[in-house]
Symmetry: D2
Subunit: 357 residues, 4 copies
């Protein structure tokens, strides 16, 4: 259950404060050029400690490929990647050893497994997402060969919404802001929350360009369903919307339908997906992150013995988990699209025949 | 790819205007009392033609159990259920034979499969959801034994939002409205759209009561991720939110965290799920439906030969697909919870040992 | 758990003496010509009651396609097929209602599920294999487009071994015998056992011609592993061997290795599979069936209350289950090969790129 | 496709001459005591270079646990284990760089992936089985808590068959021989082949004691089918037989059926499995290994350019791969049984209800 994908499957392992985290990526077609520098650069985009907008925990997040690559090319066998944890700071978690942090998975993991791995969230920590980004980087290399691109940026922080979606801008913004006009206000909101020992939520907008028509397996491995699962499964995500999504629920059909012309669709309210299958337009999603549950204000909680306590968290945490989260959204989206491309290959008999003849 | 679930797996088959639709439900524990009347009553809640708020297509939706039940009890073998199509009205679809209906899956299925099953949407028709409701009814029977209940209702139509969520009220409302004060306005909006040859969107709110702590398989078969996939996979759904979802993205951490006391949580912003695992509180979701794409106004579109045409759909369609859709949301939610209950059974070694000794 | 296959997945339902049996076949590429007569002819090869060498239970085994086919072509959606049971003869099983038949799955199903479906073996009956043959027939249609053929025949009955493997002969033999010289002796052995109220075992030999190099997914969805699972999962099968199999365990490496020349292999001890992947040679398997456990001699057994009884079965049963079993072996082999063909399509990046460009 | 199991799933990675090999084991119940010394001792049983009967390649096979274990207990999260390769001897494979070794997977991998990882067999090398043994050791720890034991030994070498099956003896035999009377002859056969630059085949016999009734998921995840897949998937295995297997194909039903008495079965021809489900008796399998394809005699083969050459392999190889292979059989059997135990937990409704109440 620590795996995702059907034809391109990845599995991750590792805990926030264990020896290492990593992933297995299984199903990468043989002969793909594996650009290790690119993989590392993707990890660098996600790694913590780059600015005041992020947790102060510093991790180099150096990735090592253990298998599946030979002479620079994928071999068709599983690509294992490992990232050693270097900055666990074991003292950080002594004050949370017997206490459930409100808003955290501490409570639910304990009740599910009957075991408490109190070291910084253990497996439920967002640290695990570094492994997703490594896998996603390989998926991006595969997509690049097919001229498909996955982009993203922060469209909203603490209710401050972007009015333009400039994905090139987002690449150079330290908070991956999509709207240059709103970036400063969004930054201010993050720093304000931080200085208040609080946190803020945010929204990541993901854009997939160049996906061919026909991706998605009806009716129970639909493109939108799998993207929703992939996004909702990222730490702190609480809602996912495709295309006009929420807005479309209060729109008339005559406005929401995308009319079709010979050259393509006249609009893209659908976000590029109809009936769970891509229609050749841009695929657009919004991913809603709650504020980081790790705050430094005093909160009501209980111990593992169910004693009530007033609790103040110490340690180092992101004031807005959406910021680094948007890099994870991209990675997961790339993995989903790559999986769907491979799955789609047997959908028409004449193309199967052509493939083998 | 027409299957859903891991331990309780269901698969559906059938097209809107074919011979029959149906499902296989595999993994139902043996010895569950199968109440056929209840299953039929769930199908009756979803079936079309009950009122002016729905499509005029009438279907009895009589379900027949073909296997897996003996002397009123499940046997542990697959439960196959079949619903014959009785009212296909083959003339209905002659005017759409070579034309893609805007907003429909016609276009994407054609490009994926290279084949056009023009009979009323074929497999992509919402008619398939009857099979989901049949399977979901069996899941509800299983949940009832564990005192878990899945409820739902319409919380919004055409932007008219419920202020109260009265699930008992919803049971008796012809449009499953949650708010008695808003029901009439919501009905009016539907009839207005209908008389304008248009359609409206809406929102279904789903409530799961009594789910134990610990459901959900981290990190890639999370309860919220799988629910998101299940809901997004329902026809016309474009967004899914868990708990405060969208709102939480603009809330401070100190407000969004649910404080814990010895007797439980002080609030339920999380919607009953933390880290992908249920925390014992009510599980709450909102499911956003776009307006039915099938409208009777003239629209721009193209033929299968990519010729531009102005097109007016004929036939019979729901003016607000969310209404009957809410019954499908319940069914899918019940199937997810039942699957998670079974999957969770091996999570602690001492409970495994106890089970076998 | 009633499903098999990864990309071409089939699921079956139904019990020996229930309303109907059937299958869902999911993942058939769209545009495959579905020859219903061929499917029926395959079922006719397996159906009981054709001769004195088989059970006297007569079933027409008329298959009906419920979905997934439109205007004679597969549409890419699940193909559901149903076969109604017409000759259940409910009186047959009154004498086994509370008694476990030695060698049968009665005992194990009861202990697994705590439920007794005593009607002729219920789900564990070989009757379910009709659904496999229907699915396998569709797989054969797909293989035929790629010039791949699956053949089989009976190579051994009651220890009487074939010395030649004449698959054309087997097609016209009522017991599917491969060796015309041994056919009569094999028939005699079956009739002798029958008149003694006993049963005999046998061996099916399966030949797959024309499979391309490269089928099989290492390391845990290997072609030989999946074939072994598929064959072992057929009722009464107790051993599976690939190529020289058992013999190779007592052969020197220098004799067992198949030397390679420019035009192919010099021998085929490997049975066409190396490292779990097809090598382009004929794929050859032997499938060992135990004697039918349903015999009419008195045997020791116990009741569901664990009381010891001496028991004489009544009813109608095959004296040699291998005979009709060989048709099922073919069907399962065809399904495995078709699945592997589809799975293999993403194994090289340059071919993925070519597919999408 | 590098994963095995449904509820207890393991995935392996790594190549013979890469940086490391390893595995992920997902689904281990939380709270299992993880005895690292035991895991290492299992690896030591399989590791090469222990005697003249094995390859001269020496590997320490020191396993390191990277995740999933905290304070000596499993946490319910994936257990990642890594074994670094220390003795790759890169010069060994220069003479095979462009040549396909007869009997090897070189040929098929090249045709599947279009890539040649010529380093000692790459992924197809039996070295990968060390990762299986590590995973299997954890499964054995789990089985031990339920008093289930998996044993094995060599029952045949080069046609020399054991007449007794003494599993205690096998534990102390350097070739894991089951029959003390035959051990010397079997050893002699191995050394003879070795000195002739040849290799011999052999048979491993596996015994599973204490498995409860009811394991196995009919009809397509049967215990015997999955065991067959698991065994056939081990390098060099060409046949698998359950219980009397091959013999039963030439036995009368009246002899092959295991009569039942109040205290259990009167015989165990079935090898403990009926209808794909365990019946509470010992589970017995025979696993047939071909002779190691790596021999040092001159053989006919071709290059990657399809030029014919006469080829003499150099390097270090096991003269009888069955010897160390029997340890792998045990590991895979343990993994299958553990998976089936977990899968079986939801098979009866009253036990599900009891679990949650």
């Amino acid at each position: 259950m620590n795996s995702f994908g059907m034809k391109l499957k990845f599995s991750t392992f590792g805990e926030s404060h264990g020896t290492a985290i990593g992933c297995l990526l299984d199903g990468v077609p043989a002969g793909l050029k594996i650009d290790e520098e690119f993989i590392q650069s993707e990890l660098d985009r996600r790694k913590p400690g780059k600015s005041e907008f992020e947790t102060a925990r510093k991790e180099d997040d150096k990735v090592e490929i253990l298998s599946g690559v030979f002479e620079g090319l994928s071999t068709g066998t599983p690509i294992a990647m490992i990232i050693y944890n270097t900055n666990q700071k074991s003292k950080d978690y002594t004050n949370i050893k017997d206490v459930f942090r409100p808003g955290h998975a501490d409570f639910t993991y304990f009740h599910k497994y009957g075991i408490r791995d109190y070291r910084g969230g253990g497996r439920s920590s967002a640290r695990e997402t570094a492994a997703r980004v490594a896998a996603g980087a390989v998926a991006k290399l595969m997509l690049a060969e097919l001229e498909i691109e996955v982009l993203s940026g922060i469209s909203e922080v603490d209710g401050i919404k972007s009015e333009v979606y400039d994905y090139e801008k987002a690449k150079t913004s330290i908070i991956y802001a999509l709207d240059p006009e709103k970036e400063q206000a969004q930054k201010d909101a993050i720093l304000k929350a931080k200085s208040d020992h609080d946190s803020v939520g945010g929204v990541s907008r993901v854009l997939i360009k160049g996906a061919p028509k026909g991706l998605g397996q009806p009716l129970y491995y639909k493109l939108d369903g799998v993207l929703a699962d992939a996004m909702m499964g990222i730490n702190a995500v609480k809602a996912v919307e495709i295309g006009d999504g929420i807005l479309s629920a209060s729109t008339l059909g005559s406005k929401n339908n995308d009319a079709i012309r010979a050259g393509g669709f006249e609009s893209n309210h659908s976000g590029g997906i109809l009936g769970g299958i891509s229609n050749g337009e841009d695929i657009v999603m919004n991913v809603y992150f709650k504020p980081t549950p790790s705050i430094f204000k005093e909160q009501h909680t209980v111990t593992t013995e169910n004693e009530e306590v007033d609790f103040s968290l110490k340690g180092r945490h992101d004031p807005c988990v959406a910021v680094r989260g948007t890099v994870v959204c991209e990675a997961m989206a790339a993995l989903v699209i790559a999986d769907m491309l491979l799955l789609n290959m047997g959908s028409q008999m004449d193309r199967v025949t052509k493939y083998y003849k």
